[in-house]
């Protein structure tokens, strides 16, 4: 097990290193002179040259890369080009918000999708299965801005249960923010729901075919024991892994949802950075995103290994 963990950690570090090179190279390749971006169109050649000297833009690329990587690892992520503020504080603040939202989504989607998928799988091809499949698939076909707007229309404007705007204050604690988290979380849940439910359903159907289920039934065990103790234990394994992997996407990929609800997450910060050609900000967000993906993959592997004795005990 420790061998497994060490290998995974080594892979993770390697992944991060390679992405950092790619991120750096891509931002270098983008058209435009950095000094000109910062100082504006009116700046004189002398001022531009001074700034280039100061930022080290005349050094060879690998020197620039080494400096950037070293500073990044020390925690000095530089200042934003557009706001002139230190980047780290902003990104971490947004990361915190994104994590709160992602957590809420998982807390909503997981029980809902698993229940739906298990019910569908246990009742394969019966009416309830068809109903669940049709319902979840028809929701997944709708883009998030449609479902989001419908939810706002109904839950905020008509029923006045939840706020339509989710622009949470900077220092809001999780519980203060919670009412504003529910609507965006619900919207993202609807996207994930069909996917996870289908996966769970397939897992349950696959396990029900296994000979050990017949062994369990022919022991004379009750239906609930067979289902919960035998079938689900194995059927949910792949699903749980997939959910862990999709956590990475939840952290930074919810651009549309964040926009619809005006939620201050990493996704919107990313769009902002691209808009302003704010290279240091873009680099920082991308690195954090990649780290998020890599960690959720690692998490998925560990959860799978922990739940599966065939992996855990070799």
């Amino acid at each position: 097990m420790s061998r497994f963990l060490l290998r995974r950690l080594a892979f993770l570090l390697l992944t991060l290193l390679i992405t950092s090179i790619i991120v750096f190279a891509v931002t270098q390749l983008l058209p435009g002179d950095v000094a000109r971006i910062i100082l504006g169109r009116e700046a004189g050649e002398q001022a531009l040259e001074q700034l280039r000297q100061k930022l080290g833009l005349n050094d060879p690329p690998f020197v620039q890369y080494g400096r950037w990587l070293w500073n990044f690892m020390r925690g000095d992520w530089g200042d934003s080009f557009s706001t002139r503020m230190p980047i780290r504080a902003v990104v971490l603040q947004r990361l915190r918000n994104s994590l709160m939202l992602a957590g809420t989504i998982v807390a909503l989607a997981l029980p809902l999708a698993l229940t739906a998928g298990v019910i569908a799988g246990l009742n394969r091809d019966r009416p309830v299965d068809n109903l669940i499949s049709i319902a979840s698939l028809s929701v997944v076909g709708l883009p998030e801005f449609v479902t989001g707007l419908v939810l706002i229309e109904v839950l905020s404007f008509k029923l006045h249960i939840l706020p339509a705007n989710s622009s949470i204050p900077v220092q809001a604690s999780f519980f203060e923010a919670l009412p504003m988290l529910i609507l965006p979380a619900l919207t993202a849940t609807l996207v994930l729901l069909a996917y996870i439910a289908r996966l769970t359903r397939a897992g349950v159907i696959e396990e029900l075919k296994q000979p050990y289920v017949r062994t369990a039934v022919l022991k004379g065990l009750s239906w609930t024991t067979v289902t919960f103790r035998h079938v689900l234990r194995n059927a949910l394994l792949p699903t749980i892994t997939v959910i862990a992997i999709s956590f990475g996407w939840l952290i930074s990929g919810l651009i549309v949802v964040e926009n619809v609800f005006n939620y201050p997450g990493l996704g919107r910060l990313l769009v902002f950075a691209i808009d302003r050609r704010d290279l240091p900000l873009l680099q920082a967000i991308t690195m954090i995103t990649v780290l998020g993906y890599a960690l959720s993959n690692l998490g998925a592997d560990l959860i799978y290994a922990a739940l599966n004795p065939r992996i855990r005990l070799g």
């Binding site: 017949r214 062994t215 022919l218």
Partner: protein
């Protein structure tokens, strides 16, 4: 318990018909089947695939698949009608009064629950045991099924113990509540011969002690002979014959039973003396059964009356036969035997001098990656020594049989010969010139000389190519024939394996397993290979088909004068086809002998144990019971000295642990890898098996 039934029938099946519905049509998988299992009786159900034997087992358990239904008839268990009972009502019986021992033990255990917990469940559910009492009872059960380390098995997950241990745990589970009826569905299929023997002993002893009635479903006639009191023979959903095992084996009264018994090579029989009589034709599909006697199209005795449905005739001594001509068979007026194949007996070939394939000290070792600690300390991980120093020769026109249990390295060796898994050390020679280790280093010429037939013909044929296309490819790519030349060769090839020419236009899914294996064999012979490797080539086939494939292989081999490396776990089959036999254990050869000497002492102790473990197709046969201790060690932890010393019943002492044994050779050409001198082995050993002389001889 239930003493009022002590002398009665535990299970009565009356006129049972079971049908399956698929896509709007329905077929009857069992038709009007009746049988009674008495208290304490083990009732064998034998049949080939499609006979309905598994359907019977499931119907008795009340666990038919969703598309299956009992159309008519009754299943009476201890006086109670089971048909029509809901699953909820069955639950009180399942695991408590009737239990199933399934095949494929690994898949039949929940992979993520410990074995102890899975056994405990039954006792919890039905007897309400809890806590320490429950644990003690489970451990006691694990001891009852002769698990040597019950504490460890209790705490293990299924994948951590061997197949034999898994099956014992399942038997413990089934026996835990002392059920009145046990249904055993091929419980030893897939286990090694030596493990199978131990599990069969266990089943037989437990049945005897407890008086449990048992329905034992299997395709293996030897297994039935060893454990069953009575046997019913099923053919395409009908019971064609039943009776006490002894009498039925001694004188079968139905031509199909006769055919089954004749299809299987007996231990010690060889192609030089015996031709196997396979059953002509194949089992009819359930939706196109012939009218009258269903066996008529394949029967050598069929006459006019056979177009009428035969009744199940009582033939005395508790026996029945569904044959119009059973009395003639009984009186010896007609023979129910299938015709002997036209070809004459395989001649012991003479030109053995030319060596086709030679191996010297061949090794195939696998290494896993280094751990962090090994990287730091520069330690080397123990490799898996799958094949560990093998010397062998295959001569022109001769067959070398390689016998071994699972994990012995026999398939790895086959792959090393083919170049699929390159050897890591040692030399191989093909026709005297060096054979490169990897497939990529071999030229087309060399590949043309080497062909392989694998166990599962479905995996060996591309499902999207017609049979004709599959056969044409090697002709065009390896031999460089033109399209039209290749087409005419395909015709000849199909003829050679006794298939109609129109098969060239069919796809693999339209063929039965036996027909597919014929195609694979035809393809292997397209290039007129110098060496054919057959890896368990007949193991997945029904016995009646197996016989015809064995005949075919020896026929074609004689014609082409190819050398053959024939690999199998079945010593009777290898003994039938081979000229020389090599026995392999944990990647090392234990014995190399000409086939005529293999079945007589002196034996390597491992060969001796194998011979005593094979279930013989003769209920009256006498067999010395040598049962190996413990489990086969992992290939990464091969014992030092003689690799067999941890399980050897003739273990000498320190010398076996510390020193590698020498190869010892006698005048008869037997070579044995053992510390015990051959004359001493010969003095100590007797043939561990003997057929009842009353069994009909054949030839």
């Amino acid at each position: 318990m239930h003493s009022e039934h002590r002398n009665g029938d535990t299970l009565k099946i009356e006129d049972l018909t079971v049908s399956y519905h698929t896509g709007g049509t329905s077929v009857q998988a069992l038709r009007s089947l009746s049988l009674n299992i008495r208290f304490g009786e083990t009732y064998g159900i034998v049949g080939e695939s499609g006979s309905g034997k598994s359907t019977l087992a499931l119907a008795v358990m009340g666990f038919l698949p969703a598309n299956g239904a009992i159309e008519s008839g009754r299943i009476i268990f201890q006086g109670e009608e089971l048909r029509g009972r809901s699953r909820t009502a069955m639950r009180a019986l399942w695991g408590m009064r009737m239990a199933l021992v399934p095949q494929d033990p690994l898949a039949s255990l929940n992979p993520s629950l410990r074995i102890g917990a899975q056994v405990a469940e039954v006792l919890q559910q039905h007897l309400g045991l809890k806590g320490e009492a429950l644990r003690q009872r489970v451990l006691e059960l694990l001891r009852t099924v002769r698990l040597s380390d019950p504490e460890r098995v209790y705490a293990s997950y299924p994948h951590q113990v061997s197949g034999g241990q898994q099956q014992r745990a399942l038997i413990a589970m089934a026996l835990s509540t002392e059920p009145e009826l046990l249904v055993l569905d091929e419980p030893t299929t897939g286990l090694d011969t030596t493990t199978q023997a131990a599990v069969l002993d266990l089943i037989r002893d437990l049945m005897r002690v407890r008086g449990t009635a048992a329905l034992y479903v299997t395709h293996n006639l030897g297994v039935v002979a060893r454990v069953c009191d009575r046997v019913a023979v099923l053919y395409a959903g009908e019971l064609v014959e039943d009776g006490p095992t002894n009498g039925l084996y001694r004188q079968p009264l139905h031509p199909y039973t006769r055919g089954l018994l004749d299809s299987v090579p007996r231990l010690g029989e060889n192609k030089s003396a015996v031709r196997l009589r396979s059953i002509q034709g194949s089992i009819p599909a359930l939706d196109e059964l012939p009218g009258g006697c269903i066996f008529r199209p394949r029967c050598s005795l069929a006459i006019e009356i056979c177009k009428q449905d035969p009744p199940l005739n009582p033939s005395g001594e508790g026996r029945t036969s569904r044959c119009h001509r059973w009395e003639e068979i009984l009186r010896g007026e007609v023979s129910a035997r299938q015709k002997t194949p036209d070809a004459s007996l395989a001649k012991p070939h003479t030109a053995r001098d030319e060596t086709i394939l030679g191996m010297e000290e061949v090794e195939v070792h696998f290494h896993r990656g280094l751990t962090l600690r090994e990287m730091i300390t520069a330690g080397r991980p123990p490799g898996v020594r799958a094949v560990d120093g093998v010397d062998l020769q295959v001569g022109r026109g001769s067959t070398l049989g390689l016998v071994g249990e699972s994990g012995s390295g026999k398939t790895t060796l086959a792959r090393a010969v083919m170049g699929l898994t390159p050897r890591t050390a040692g030399e191989m020679f093909l026709l005297g010139s060096e054979l490169p280790a990897g497939l990529g280093q071999r030229d087309k010429e060399t590949r043309t000389h080497l062909q392989i037939v694998i166990q599962n013909p479905s995996e060996a044929l591309n499902p999207y190519l017609t049979i004709g296309e599959s056969l044409r490819r090697p002709l065009q790519t390896l031999l460089g024939l033109s399209r039209s030349e290749a087409d005419s060769r395909v015709h000849d090839l199909l003829e050679a394996v006794h298939l109609q020419p129109e098969y060239a236009r069919r796809f693999p899914v339209e063929l039965s397993g036996g027909e597919k294996q014929r195609v694979v064999i035809a393809r292997a012979f397209t290039t007129n290979p110098d060496l054919l490797v057959a890896d368990e080539a007949v193991s997945s086939l029904d016995v009646s088909v197996q016989a015809s494939i064995l005949n075919l292989l020896s026929e074609l081999q004689a014609e082409h004068a190819s050398g053959m490396l024939f690999i199998s776990h079945d010593l009777a089959v290898v003994g039938f086809l081979a000229d020389d036999i090599a026995v392999i254990y944990l990647g090392k050869l234990m014995e190399r002998s000409p086939v005529r000497t293999v079945f007589d002492p002196p034996y390597h102790p491992y060969t001796e144990a194998l011979l005593s473990a094979i279930p013989l197709i003769d209920p009256a046969a006498e067999q010395v019971e040598i049962r190996l201790e413990g489990e086969v060690p992992a290939a990464s932890q091969i014992p030092a000295g003689c690799p067999f010393h941890t399980r050897c019943h003739r273990f000498l002492g320190d010398i076996c642990v510390e020193e590698k044994p020498p190869w010892r050779r006698n005048e008869a050409g037997k070579e044995i890898y053992c510390h015990i001198p051959l004359d001493e082995l010969e003095r100590k050993q007797s043939r561990p098996f003997a057929f009842d002389s009353g069994m009909e001889q054949r030839g």
